[in-house]
């Protein structure tokens, strides 16, 4: 008889070990999937995880891409992790990301073609505000009417996508774009362009913000009363109530924080790597960030590493598409599997396995 016995406190060793085991299991399962698709599994895994960093032909292009992709993932995941810790489920980061991008781009395009050092900071504020505003909808509905924030935040993704399609063809359309949908390219607008801070490193302001967010959140969660309240709310909601923690304020804070960070990520993306608002501007970062948050064990440093790893699968996946003709969807599946394996191995941090009948 195998029994599971609840641990008094989560095991530290397994907390660190399980993500690594999950990655290995995903590689094995992914390898089987690649073999089923008729590709050499070892070659595929090598192309995804090794070549983007170390192959002399690709590394010079791929390495900067790593930060470009990891930046938004980390930024969004850090925000989400705080809410997840408190048991507040914002799964609509994709929508907040879109709204941040729209607000950020709109702030710049409103004053085009004026040049000023204040434009970029204004865009940052506008982007964060757009994401925050979009997250306030589920927050207010949850605190005022007890409406489920999971469903509302998720459904607002579809609404945001419609708004994106609308502004790309209307409000923000490039007047000099010969009628094509899409806004002006912010990369050609020096005051608004979120360029690389260090040439050829991929390090743009979004990546720097992601690092700041990691440090900020780490300090908040370990040293500040707000972080303590978040953890208390997640682990012992009743105790939190007795201790006088305001549920309303915490919900508003968690959703607002994650929304603002997702909005920032969207703004940095549209002002930098993407350059313009297009109908299909969003690429699923908001959803992948959920995987990143869990893979990083909802811990800021873990999320930093998980974001880099997940960025690697994006770049490696594109490379594998190019080199092996691997379907793009297989990477999506790969990432989904990673989350499931992670959740499966998660049990060993909270339970220990006992053989034999109960005493």
């Amino acid at each position: 008889m195998i029994r599971f016995e609840k641990r008094l406190a989560p095991s530290r060793t397994t907390t660190i070990l399980t993500p690594i085991i999950a990655v290995i299991l995903t590689m094995i399962a992914g390898g089987i999937m690649f073999a089923a698709l008729g590709k050499d599994p070892f070659e595929a895994i090598r192309i995804i995880f090794w070549d983007p960093l170390f192959d002399e032909n690709f590394a010079s292009y791929s390495r900067p891409q790593l930060l470009v992709k990891a930046g938004p993932l980390i930024l969004i995941a850090i925000g989400l992790s705080v809410g997840f810790k408190a048991g507040i489920w914002n799964i609509g980061a994709e929508g907040q990301y879109i709204m941040g991008a729209i607000f950020g781009a709109a702030a710049a395009l409103a004053v085009y073609p004026a040049e000023s050092p204040f434009i970029f900071p204004a865009m940052i504020i506008a982007g964060a505000f757009g994401g925050w505003l979009w997250a306030m909808i589920p927050a207010v509905l949850r605190t005022k009417f007890k409406t489920n924030e999971i469903l509302v935040s998720l459904m607002l993704v579809y609404v945001a996508e419609s708004i994106l399609a609308s502004v790309a063809q209307g409000l923000l359309k490039n007047p000099d774009g010969y009628g094509f949908p899409g806004s002006r390219n912010l990369q050609q607008y020096p005051s608004a362009f979120n360029g690389e801070v260090i040439a050829n490193s991929g390090m743009h302001w979004g990546v720097i913000s992601a690092f700041i967010a990691v440090i900020f959140t780490y300090v908040m969660m370990t040293r500040h009363i707000r972080g303590f309240e978040v953890r208390l709310m997640g682990e012992a909601p009743k105790a939190a109530q007795f201790a006088g923690v305001s549920t309303t304020r915490l919900i508003v804070f968690c959703l607002g924080f994650s929304g603002a960070l997702a909005g920032l990520a969207g703004m940095f993306e549209v002002a930098g790597p993407a350059g313009q608002i297009t109908i299909d501007f969003n690429s699923g970062y908001g959803f992948t960030a959920i995987i990143v948050a869990f893979l990083g064990r909802l811990h800021p440093v873990g999320i930093l590493l998980a974001g880099l790893l997940m960025a690697l699968t994006y770049i490696g996946g594109e490379l594998a598409q190019l080199m092996l003709g691997l379907p793009g969807a297989s990477i999506q599946l790969f990432q989904g599997m990673l989350l499931l394996f992670l959740l499966a191995t998660d049990m060993f941090t909270n339970y220990r396995i006992r053989l034999g009948a109960a005493q």
Partner: protein, 307 residues
């Protein structure tokens, strides 16, 4: 405002068709949630049902077989969720989400070679006598069999939950799993079955989209239907007949906005296509503002039998 081409008969007839996928998924999820489990993977199970049903129907030229395999595929996928949640005691929200991501990935992978093909679709099944009634006949009684099967499933779920022993046990497990466990009911086994039933229903719903409503395969074609089904379960206060009402209301909105798009009303297409989601949110708010509305007490809570 002049709206040519929107006839009430056609509107109600197409409303039933457009509501059926959501209804199927919602009734399955009602059973899952009644047993105390929140499966957010509906969207993933639907899209896998859609692609598997489509592939089967194209290869065998039998849409009926497509529906059968879609239900099996949905149920199989849900066993991943059931295993993780029930045996590995993982977080239900995260696992459901993971299931959706995996489902979207699998379906895109499987469906790639089938893009742009038309599938054989279900023939309309005209209920004898009833379908000859003027107006009501073409409106309500001349649909394909799946429309009626979905209503029959609703009736069956209602009957089983309300009047049978197994339904009572299922509800007991959902209301208080510790008490049910103490009484000797197999909490895990009952939930596992409920989750599989939910998966099968979601698979059927997905196949209805790819085989009847569209009928074609495009990547990500469920486009949020699974999430709306989840909202309808809340809207319905976990009651089967109200799920029917909710799905048909929602179907009505969808059809109406599509008709308005086609009629070229002066509202931009984007605003019309976001309206179903906005209205769903609005309805959710109204329902939840009314306070406690019969959510199973153990919904989403972790069950660990401690000796």
């Amino acid at each position: 405002m002049d709206l040519p081409g929107i006839s009430p008969v056609l509107l109600i007839a197409s409303l039933m068709v457009s509501a059926t996928p959501i209804l199927l998924a919602a009734i399955g999820e009602t059973v899952v949630e009644k047993s105390g489990v929140l499966n957010l993977g509906v969207e993933g199970m639907m899209i896998v049902g859609a692609v598997v049903g489509f592939i089967t129907a194209v290869n065998t030229t039998s849409p009926a077989l497509g529906f059968v395999t879609a239900a099996i595929a949905g149920a199989l996928l849900s066993t991943i969720f059931a295993t993780l949640v029930l045996f590995f005691k993982s977080n239900q929200v995260a696992t459901g989400l993971g299931l959706t991501l995996v489902g979207l990935g699998i379906s895109a992978l499987l469906g790639k070679p089938y893009e742009g093909i038309k599938s054989p679709t279900l023939q309309a099944f005209e209920i004898p006598v009833l379908s000859d009634i003027p107006v009501l006949g073409p409106m309500l009684f001349s649909h394909d069999p799946m429309v009626y099967i979905s209503i029959l499933i609703v009736a069956a779920v209602w009957f089983v939950l309300k009047y049978t022993r197994i339904g009572l046990v299922l509800r007991a497990v959902g209301e208080n799993h510790d008490a049910a466990h103490a009484l000797g009911y197999k909490v895990i086994r009952i939930r596992f079955m409920a989750i599989m039933f939910g998966g099968a229903c979601a698979g059927l719903g997905g196949a209805y989209i790819s085989l009847v409503r569209v009928p074609q395969w495009t990547e990500g074609m469920t486009a949020g239907a699974g999430w709306i089904a989840l909202a309808i379960v809340v809207f319905a206060s976990w009651k089967p007949w109200r799920a029917l009402l909710g799905a048909y209301l929602f179907g009505g909105i969808t059809v109406l906005q599509l008709n308005l798009q086609a009629a070229g009303v002066a509202i931009p297409v984007e605003y019309l296509s976001m309206s179903p989601f906005l209205i769903t949110i609005l309805v959710l708010v109204i329902i939840s503002a009314k306070g406690n509305h019969g959510a199973p007490a153990s919904l989403g809570r972790l069950f660990h039998a401690s000796n």
